[in-house]
Symmetry: C2
Amino acid sequence: MESKFQELEARLVVIHDLNAANAVLQWDQQTLMPSGGAAARGRQLATVGRLAHELQTDPALGRLLDDLRPFEEQQPYESREASLIRVARRDYEEAVQVPPAFMAEFLRHGAEAYEVWTRARPANDFAMVQPYLETTLDMSRRLAEFFPNRDHLADPLIGFRDYGMTAAMVRNLFTELREQLVPIVHAITSQQPADDSCLHKHFPLDKQWDFGVDVVKRFGYDFERGRQDKSPHPFTTSFSIGDVRITTRMKENRLEEALFSTMHEAGHAMYEQGIAPEFEGTPLAGGTSAAVHESQSRLWENLVGRSRAFWEYWYPALQNTFKEQLHDVTLATFYRAINKVQPSLIRTDADEVTYNLHVMMRFDFEMDLLDGKLQVRDLPEAWRERLHHDLGVEPADDRNGVLQDVHWFDGYVGGAFQGYTLGNILSAQFFDAATQAHPGITADMQRGAFDTLHGWLRDNVYRPGRIFTAAELVERVTGGPLRVGPYIRYLREKYGMLYTL
Amino acid sequence: MESKFQELEARLVVIHDLNAANAVLQWDQQTLMPSGGAAARGRQLATVGRLAHELQTDPALGRLLDDLRPFEEQQPYESREASLIRVARRDYEEAVQVPPAFMAEFLRHGAEAYEVWTRARPANDFAMVQPYLETTLDMSRRLAEFFPNRDHLADPLIGFRDYGMTAAMVRNLFTELREQLVPIVHAITSQQPADDSCLHKHFPLDKQWDFGVDVVKRFGYDFERGRQDKSPHPFTTSFSIGDVRITTRMKENRLEEALFSTMHEAGHAMYEQGIAPEFEGTPLAGGTSAAVHESQSRLWENLVGRSRAFWEYWYPALQNTFKEQLHDVTLATFYRAINKVQPSLIRTDADEVTYNLHVMMRFDFEMDLLDGKLQVRDLPEAWRERLHHDLGVEPADDRNGVLQDVHWFDGYVGGAFQGYTLGNILSAQFFDAATQAHPGITADMQRGAFDTLHGWLRDNVYRPGRIFTAAELVERVTGGPLRVGPYIRYLREKYGMLYTL
């Protein structure tokens, strides 16, 4: 049995290494690759991805996992051994469900649709991508149908990124959140918006870069095991537990852009850096779900990085870095500016409060599209109507409407967005648990110290990697299931100080 | 037959893509990777390399190549089809000669020996690596013995990098070169060495970088299909014909270091960028031998970059870049400085004239080690004696003697060095052929134009990739075999203007 387990590890590390190689190829593609490398790089990614998929679906792997059942049952549930077998089996069973020919066609279509979208978006031409999106929707349905064990067609699609979650669960949570969130949004938006002009002066890029790096170093992001580069869209990628990289983008007239994106990505990256080193090279070395991953990025970006306590320490340093721009801007003004709430068109630029309405709208559209209640051709109009209804704003064109997000255009329809709002909800729930365990965390932030918070997250959230499902992790760490309460309480308290609620 | 050929192409592109993925992993490792990524990266490289080797030695590939013999014979020798089959068969037959278990052990030992060398060199401790080098020598012999078709044990080892070359051929060429070179070296070194102090002032790194980039852009190195980064040891790497990258290293007090290393690597890179685009993803997309590759780097570095004609155009620009440092340095002084001949200890720092004596010494040692005429333990002393005899200098320690080159410590003994001098010889022979075809090339250089030279090299040397062996290529391009004459003539003419010969 020992030797069978070693054989399993040997098989899994090859899959892991091929996926890591592809992550390096992608990171390079998005940060440094010269344009001339694009065609061959696409081919290389496809080749390596196909080999990884072949090994991931090798029937011999399935037999090995079957043979290891008795061994697995002898080991404690939380042990490295039992967890490795359990998670590897889950990955295997998911992968073999989809016929390779369909998967190849699906990926080929995704690459093509993405390429069309990159041209359609700047051209503001929804008609150009509409047939591709229709095919994507059709293929998303067929993809879901390979998984017979479901209540709703979206369940397997949601499960790819948020294992254990279903359409019904997300719907219930979102309904509850919506009921409590909409009155807050209405209360705030009926008031005078904050003045954030202090963020839109001229801020030299090199100083922005250095300040962001200082902050995330202090958070605990380890530059000996990572690095930051520039890319058109910020992202985090992991090649191993010892090499987890982030990217950012900077604008001279938007101080908040790079700053909060760096904190956000560092939150993702600290999660991956904090996984137990003994999981390196195994499928346990990863975040347990999209929602839990997003909870870590949003916790550091918002609950820490947009908090008053944080800036009580850091604002003098920021003023010192940008003397000319900020010397006459008070901490109170700056704090209001970085927490300005205002309905807007673009999800990724939205404030903490209205952001979730963007996500819930997309989730509802995904469900309606899958259910056949909404047609792709009607999406631009539905988008305008719903945004007007929810936020009182309306995009003048599709570029700033239905074409803004990459998700549906490089993947599938269904399950692409819920993780963002689930992550917001969880960020408050985890932060609550951390401050209950260590009430001094806020005082620590006021003096620029994050060790206790980072240590608590590392021990409780990061270290287990994929040992626990998201639901198991939340239960263990917070003593109950995912709950909307802490997040709403956080928003009410924070925005109650800034606005009349 | 058509479908068999397509199957061959499909198999070869997978091998090519895995090797390209490993090239990206290595490039990243040597340029940007944080230290924490080292352990996992070594494992990832080994995994991807092993998979590539398995596919390269798959018996099904061998059968396919057998089946394709009739098809190959119907196609013209120079056609893409016949060449692809021919070169793929050569690669296959070489790869299957070595048992996988030996190859794995050989690579494992190489990685270990390299790691020990990286510590032994700064510690000046030859005894530390001696047992590893003894094992390397033993394994080099065993590796060679897998190839029964040889006159000398070194022949297959030489052939790995310089296909078609044998120990006897190299020995004959080197004997001839040596006879003509030694009198030139003696004549020069009996005279007053040139004053190169103008190169050792303080030169800001960013300006050095920009100047080097300007020069190689003008050569024709295409930054849309490549980029330059920094690394401890400069190198060129190709991920595809559309993505060929170079690296450099810079020192503030050594103007010549980055400048000529950038030209050198750009020479390698233009070769890879210039291969016919229809060979992308196939084994034809590469340099045909180490010697021909080195001929291109040395041609651009020395025959162009260290020529008087080149600097007649570029020196005013360099003076303008480094006004303070060079305003009172004449072109004649600068030209003498960058062509200073002085016996020295380190091969990679040696001037054009004495460089080849370093290489020939190493080649002779390799042959003597393989033949059992020289023992590894006697190598440091033999090194000192031979250097003293050939160049009249003697290293004070092994760090600057036998431990200076990585080659024997990360690979095999035999065949590691001859390509450098063969490349020097060829660089003059190719340049001769180019100027015979286009006598205006030197006048072009005097006005900063390289189109004709670059175009001739692209059409004659770069485009064929691996279609022709080095011997075939030299014959086609220069109308005869590799010859020492043009190189000696080049040295006599050039250094006859600088010294009394």
